[in-house]
C-alpha cells in the first residue's frame, strides 16, 4: 500500500509538470486557433534562460522566473506578430502550423549552436531535497510545480471571467468579427494571448530547470505529452488540460512501476488512442473556447 501511494504521489507530481507545460499550449490553441509546434522549444528557451541567470548571476531559479516569464511573453508575442499574423490571410491556414514547425527547428538548432549538444545543469538551490508528506516522499521542487500549475489554472479562470481584457479575449475567441464590432483590436488580442501562453510555459521552464537538465531537444519529450494532455482535456480547455495532465502523470507512473518502465510511453499513448476513438472531443471538453459563427 505504501508503495502504491508513493507511485500515486509520483504520478500526481509528474502530472503537475505536464500541466504547467500544457496550459499555455491549450490557451493558445483555444483562443488564437493555432497549434504551436514550437511550444516545447519555448520551454527549452526558458530553461536555458534560467540556466544562464542562475549560473551567471547566481540567482535562485525561482527568482530567475521573474525575468524568464516576461522574456517568454515577449517571445510569444513576437511569434504571433511577426510569424503567425502575416500568414493570417494565407489561403490555407495550415501554413501557420508549418511556420511553427519551422520556428521549432530553428530554435532547436540555435540552441545547438550556442550551447552545444551537452546538457546544461541549472544549480538546484535545495529544490531537489525530499519532503515527507504523510506516507510519501516527494521533491520540494515538484510540490512547487504542482502548486504553480493549480495557481495558474485558477488565476487564468479568474482573469478570463473577471477582467476586461480577459472578457475581450473570450469574446474574440467566440466570435472574432463581432468582437471587432465591439471595438476590440482582435490582432492585439491574439498577440497578447500568444504572449500569455508563452509566459505560462516560461513559468514552467524556471520551475522545471532545477529538476531536469536543459538540452536543445528537451522540449520535444515534454511537448509530445503536452499534446496528449491538451487533446484529452478538450482542446482549448485550461482546466481540462490540468486534469488530463494529472491523469496522464498517474498512468505514466503506475505503468512504469507495475508494467515496466520501458512500456510507460506505450501505455500512455495506447490509452490516448483509445480515448480518442471513444470520445474524440476529449474527456473534459467544454464549448467555452470554441468558435461558433463568423460571418
Amino acid at each position: 500500500m505504501e508503495i502504491f501511494l508513493q507511485i500515486l504521489a509520483n504520478g500526481v507530481m509528474l502530472g503537475g509538470l505536464f500541466a504547467i507545460v500544457a496550459i499555455g499550449l491549450t490557451l493558445i490553441f483555444g483562443i488564437v486557433k493555432v497549434i504551436n509546434f514550437a511550444h516545447g522549444e519555448f520551454l527549452m528557451v526558458g530553461m536555458y534562460l534560467t540556466f544562464l541567470l542562475t549560473t551567471g548571476l547566481d540567482l535562485h531559479p525561482y527568482i530567475a522566473a521573474a525575468a524568464v516569464v516576461p522574456a517568454l511573453f515577449v517571445l510569444g508575442a513576437l511569434t504571433q506578430r511577426f510569424l503567425i499574423q502575416p500568414l493570417l490571410s494565407a489561403r490555407d491556414e495550415h501554413v501557420q502550423i508549418f511556420a511553427t514547425v519551422g520556428l521549432s527547428t530553428a530554435l532547436m538548432n540555435l540552441a545547438l549552436l550556442i550551447f552545444g549538444a551537452d546538457i546544461a545543469n541549472t544549480p538546484v538551490h535545495g529544490v531537489r531535497s525530499q519532503v515527507q508528506l504523510g506516507p510519501v516522499r516527494v521533491l520540494e521542487g515538484q510540490i512547487w510545480i504542482l502548486v504553480a500549475a493549480v495557481a495558474l489554472v485558477i488565476g487564468l479562470q479568474f482573469f478570463m471571467k473577471r477582467t476586461t481584457l480577459g472578457r475581450a479575449i473570450r469574446a474574440t475567441a467566440q466570435n472574432r468579427a463581432a468582437a471587432q464590432l465591439m471595438g476590440i483590436n482582435d490582432r492585439l488580442i491574439y498577440v497578447l494571448t500568444f504572449g500569455i501562453g508563452a509566459a505560462c510555459v516560461g513559468l514552467g521552464s524556471a520551475l522545471i530547470a532545477p529538476l531536469y537538465p536543459a538540452s536543445p531537444t528537451v522540449g520535444t519529450y515534454f511537448v509530445l505529452i503536452a499534446f496528449v494532455v491538451v487533446v484529452l482535456g478538450g482542446l482549448g480547455s485550461v482546466a481540462g488540460a490540468f486534469f488530463g495532465a494529472i491523469l496522464i502523470g498517474i498512468v505514466d507512473a503506475m505503468s512504469g512501476f507495475y508494467i515496466g518502465s520501458d512500456l510507460r510511453e506505450a501505455v500512455v499513448f495506447g490509452i490516448f488512442l483509445v480515448i480518442l476513438i471513444l470520445k474524440p472531443s476529449g474527456l473534459f471538453s467544454t464549448r467555452l473556447n470554441q468558435s461558433h459563427v463568423s460571418p
Binding site: T164, M182, G183, I184
Partner: protein
Amino acid sequence: MLEVEHIDAGYGSTVILQDVSLRVDTGEVVTIVGANGAGKTTTLRCIAGLLQPRSGRIRLDGQDITELAAHDIVDLGITLIPEGRQLFPDMTVRENLMMGAYRREARACQSQSLSEVLDLFPRLAERLDQPAVSLSGGEQQMVAIARGMMARPKILMFDEPSLGLAPIIVSQVFEVIEQVAASGTTVLIVEQNVFHTLKVADRGYVLENGRMTLEDSAAALLADDHVRQAYLGI
C-alpha cells in the same frame, strides 16, 4: 455626418458594389432598401471597417475613415448591429451587454447604459445571467440591439434587424429603433421589411445590383411607383 463617396467593393473576383454614394446627416434615420444580394450588407461592412472598399472614400465628420480598422471606427462612434445577431454564445447576456460597452467612451458609463437598455428591454433583465445561446431568436435580437446601444454610438447601423422574427417581435424591434432615433442617435438601417422601415425613416436609398438607383425622402419613396411595385408588392 457620414459620407460614403463612390465606393467599389467586393470579395475576391466578385464585384458587389459599384460607385455607391450615400450621406447620413446628424439625427437622421436613413435606410437602404433593396433585394437580397443587392449589396446592402456589404455597404454596411465597408462603413464598419470589416471590408476594405477597392476605391472611393468614407468620411465621418469630414475625417477620412476608409482605411481604419473596424475597432478604430467603433472608437470614433459608429456601431454596427450585424445581421444574424452574432452574439458571444457562451457568454451570459450580461457579459454580452458589457462587451457592447467596451469602447473607451462607453466604458465609463457602463452601469448607466445597462439600466437604460434594461428599461427598454425588461425581458432581458430576467435573463441577465443566462448564456446568450439559450435565448430565443427574438430575445437574442434584443440582446444584439441592446449590445449595440451599450456602445453609445453617434451612428447606430442596423443590418436586417427583423430578419427571421415573429411579426409581434418585428413591431417591437421597430418601436425600439424609433426610440433610439428619438433619443438623438443617428440611424442607418438596412431592411427587407421595406414598408415598416420607410415608415420610421426620414430618407431612403434604393440599391439595385450594387448600384444606387434612387434617393428620396421616405414619404416620397413610399409613394414611388417603382418602389411600390418592386418592394411593397402593391
